[in-house]
Amino acid sequence: MSTSKAKILSVGTANPPNRYSQLDILELFRVANPTVRAMFQASHIEGRHLVLPEPDDDGVPREDQETLLRKHRKWSLILAREAIDRALSAQGLTTADIDYLCCITSTGLMLPGLTAMFIKHLGFRVDCHRADVVGMGCNAGLNGLNPTANWCAANPGRNALMVCCEVNSALYVYDDAITTGVVNSLFGDGCAAVLLRGEPATDTGEPVPQLVDFYSHIIPDAWGAMRYDWQSHHGKFAFYLDRDVPYVLGIHAETPINGLLQRHGLKRRDIHHWIIHSGGKKVIDAIKYNIGITAHDVRHTVDVLRHYGNLGSGSFLFSYQRLMAEGTVRRGDRGVMMTMGPGSTIETALLQW
């Protein structure tokens, strides 16, 4: 095994300033449908940071696709500036020290992409290598982390930064449909930046995890379970989430976990920390009972969902940040990262502290 595997050095996160309880949103937009109201109130989410418009006189916000795209661009930059600054200052670095930049988003299409915008505005060098991962959904954080970690392993001692930037309020559609209610009650806005560097293992200081391996799994039979649909009557994209998503993800969760662990001769009991995407209450339950992990194992996943909602691709990094802040991780511990999303996809990574 290579001695210069990528290590996670720090994570920084940011959210927009306005936080709304589920009830706040129901009142702001005068949601009347009792099924949708019940969904908001039973969704195991206490609040979410969002960038919401003022409603018109009839309680409905008027945001066309152009407004939404501008919102995505504006808030991506605001949130990324803050998250990146937090991740880098933790290591005494600036954006000029970054040699590889990978940006993830699924909540707005831009050309040029986020990496180009961040280089223009945030002080990255113009010779910074870059990659934009666009439209891969909630699992994309690990799809981006895999090549970023490989780049680090191939370029020991150099700094790579991955930024997951999701402005889910730039996707909102307002109507009375149940599927719209599911989406509008679940997603929140947030950005997470993670700093990686390939270095040989050292024996001093705080526990720092090495990214040991990745294992992917896609479920082509559930290709359409999570998707963007163009809705001409709204004139914008709407996110569709099939009601069977939690169960489909749950029943397949064992496959990549077994694949990942078997490759390293590990059992599930050898994993001390589970860092799982906060997809939703039912998704978390399905994962818990299908891979046999406990409520304690998903405490940060549940907590991130409760406090922020589903933050898309960066959610798992919010959980990772909470795990590290807890101070319970010890050198030698192992962890598994797991993200789920459209495809349908389950991505996993093995960590070793």
Binding site: A42, G250, I251, D285, Y289, N290
Partner: protein, 242 residues
């Protein structure tokens, strides 16, 4: 291989005989190795825990403590971890109790799925009278016998006879012939449906500490897993064929 217990496995039964009357860290290590084997390599249906020579277990071995050394909580944590692993084994578990089942021994019996006792069996949570706590029996016992009875058992430390333990619900059956009682119990456990057994037990264990809203979410996740396993699919096929 094991120094504090013996392990034998034949067909659907694996048998763990505690050969030490007292629970030591060596026994915790042995039980951990037994659990590794049962989780990874065993096709058995039922795991039986028993003592020998008219004693199930007398509980923790105080010889491992030194009054002049700092007290260490981590050994207690290791004991709790092995209890949880036994409680969650992907097998039905049984305690066969003859004679004294005291302290940690009673805690061990409490994490199994069924207890069979001889009329000579006695149960006691004696820890509080010795100045410490009966582990997570403080969490589990009230679920089995109710809060008032648990307070009596844990705070007054009575020696409970097999008959009384039966009426409290700690023991499922009292029979001088443990082997035939065990054979009946194994038959009663029915087919070896590991996933259904493990999930049903997990939901039951969680039932007292989960609210209904979370409980039903947990149930649906577990049920979805169960109905996609071979045993349930076979049940449907069989029903169709009839």
């Amino acid at each position: 291989m094991y120094t504090t217990l013996s392990f034998e496995e034949s067909g659907e039964i694996a048998r763990v005989t505690l050969t030490n009357e007292r629970i030591t860290m060596a026994m915790v290590r042995d039980l951990t190795a037994v659990c590794d084997h049962l989780e990874d390599d065993s096709a058995c249906k039922v795991v039986v825990f028993q003592g020998q020579g008219g004693c199930f277990s007398r509980g923790i071995d105080f010889a491992e403590f030194r009054p002049d050394e700092p007290m260490d909580i981590h050994g207690f944590n290791k004991w709790e971890k092995i209890c949880v692993r036994i409680e969650r084994l992907p097998k039905a578990t049984v305690a066969l109790v003859d004679g004294a089942c005291v302290g940690g021994g009673a805690q061990l019996a409490l994490v199994t799925d069924a207890v069979i006792a001889t009329p000579e069996a006695t149960f006691q949570f004696n820890e509080v009278h010795l100045g410490f706590l009966p582990g997570m029996a403080t969490f589990r016992l009230a679920k089995h016998v109710g809060l008032g009875r648990a307070k009596r058992l844990i705070m007054q430390c009575p020696v409970v006879t097999a008959t009384e333990a039966f009426s409290l619900g700690l023991v499922g059956e009292v029979d001088p012939d443990l082997d035939s009682a065990l054979a009946r119990l194994i038959a009663a456990f029915g087919p070896n449906h590991t996933v259904a057994v493990t999930l049903a037990r997990r939901l039951l264990n969680e039932s007292f500490s989960t609210d209904f809203e979370n409980g039903i979410g947990n149930f649906l996740a577990a049920q979805h897993r169960a109905i996609h396993q071979t045993p349930f699919l076979d049940t449907i096929k069989k029903h169709r064929d009839e």
